[in-house]
Symmetry: C2
Subunit: 200 residues, 2 copies
């Protein structure tokens, strides 16, 4: 049997790989590997075709906008900041603008990158880029076929309470809320936004 | 063709499903669905066989312990709080004790649940449970074959700086660090721990 030569991924050696599943959102790739200690093994990786984006939209009264929806993989209802996915060739902020408008109807005058992180790193390569958005203007929401959404507007401190209390379980929402809170407290956000998110 | 009757998952109807990939860590299940608006569609879900656990170990000097490793799915080196996975039938704290000891050698006298969340919810059902651990005692690390680990000990405020600065990209680590910070600031942690994580 011939094939491409083994390749290195950090301390692993990949002996062979094959796509075992593919749909418009993910590919699943099974790898035959040598582990860092030389043992033979298998590594299944879920490759995402989209980058996840999240938006923390803050209005002039210090309120934020949450989207409620049933999440199919968890079979559970989830309240989250506006989120979505965009292809790797699209800029994250372009995806974020589109998702914010689709899910809430809102447009924003001001955007600031808030956090970029690896959502899960044991078997997926899913990445997230998250933004603060302010200077908000209302509009008409236009959710996708796969979405049945509700909208809720709450004050930022109430969002922090829901995050710390465990009522909000979505990782992007938790990271966005707590990052904005920590950055505001440490003077790492524009004053206009710090004042909005920290006022009680 | 006969099969099980359609079932409901929130606003979706699942017409059929089949396992398209399976290994010791995940199953990938492809579903034929009707979307909330009635349109026909496909939903691939990655089902995790383990619950992810994370540990924020804080020592008497207010330092925390980070584990460095190359993450195969992202092909990138990552500094993280101690993490691992355990079967659903095992208690999360038991998994956490084992992972902390395996990766760092540490044992802890005191444990407190810090956060529980859905790591990713668009196509996976991966869940995390995270703990604060203090009253630490050193021991001998014993990493698994698939792991080649480094250890780094830093002060908690330096961890917050690395999280907010984007040097740390792992979602569990970000959630643990910022949750501990926010809870300490709001008086929602035992005084002994708040004093340790907030002192400069």
């Amino acid at each position: 049997m011939s094939g491409p030569p083994p390749r290195r991924v950090g301390p692993w050696t990949v002996l062979s790989e094959r796509i075992v599943y593919d749909n418009p959102w993910i590919s699943v790739v099974d790898h035959a590997v040598e582990h860092p200690n030389g043992a033979a093994g298998q590594y299944g990786v879920v490759r995402f075709k989209n980058v996840a984006v999240g938006v923390l939209p803050v209005d002039e009264e210090g309120c934020v906008w949450l989207v409620g929806q049933h999440r199919f993989p968890h079979d559970a209802y989830s309240w989250e900041l506006p989120e979505g996915g965009g292809p790797h060739h699209e800029s994250a902020i372009e995806t974020a603008r589109r998702e914010l408008a689709e899910e809430t109807g809102l447009t924003a005058e001001r955007w600031l990158e808030l956090a970029a992180f690896d959502i899960s790193n044991s078997v997926t390569d899913e990445k997230a880029v998250c933004f603060l958005a302010w200077g908000l203007h209302p509009g008409e929401a236009a959710p996708e076929a796969s979405e049945a959404l509700s909208i809720r507007r709450i004050r930022f401190p109430a969002l922090i309470e829901e995050v710390l209390g465990g009522q909000i379980r979505d990782s992007l929402t938790i990271v966005m809320a707590l990052t904005a809170y920590a950055k505001a407290l440490r003077g790492a956000l524009p004053d206009a936004i710090s004042d909005l998110v920290l006022k009680r």
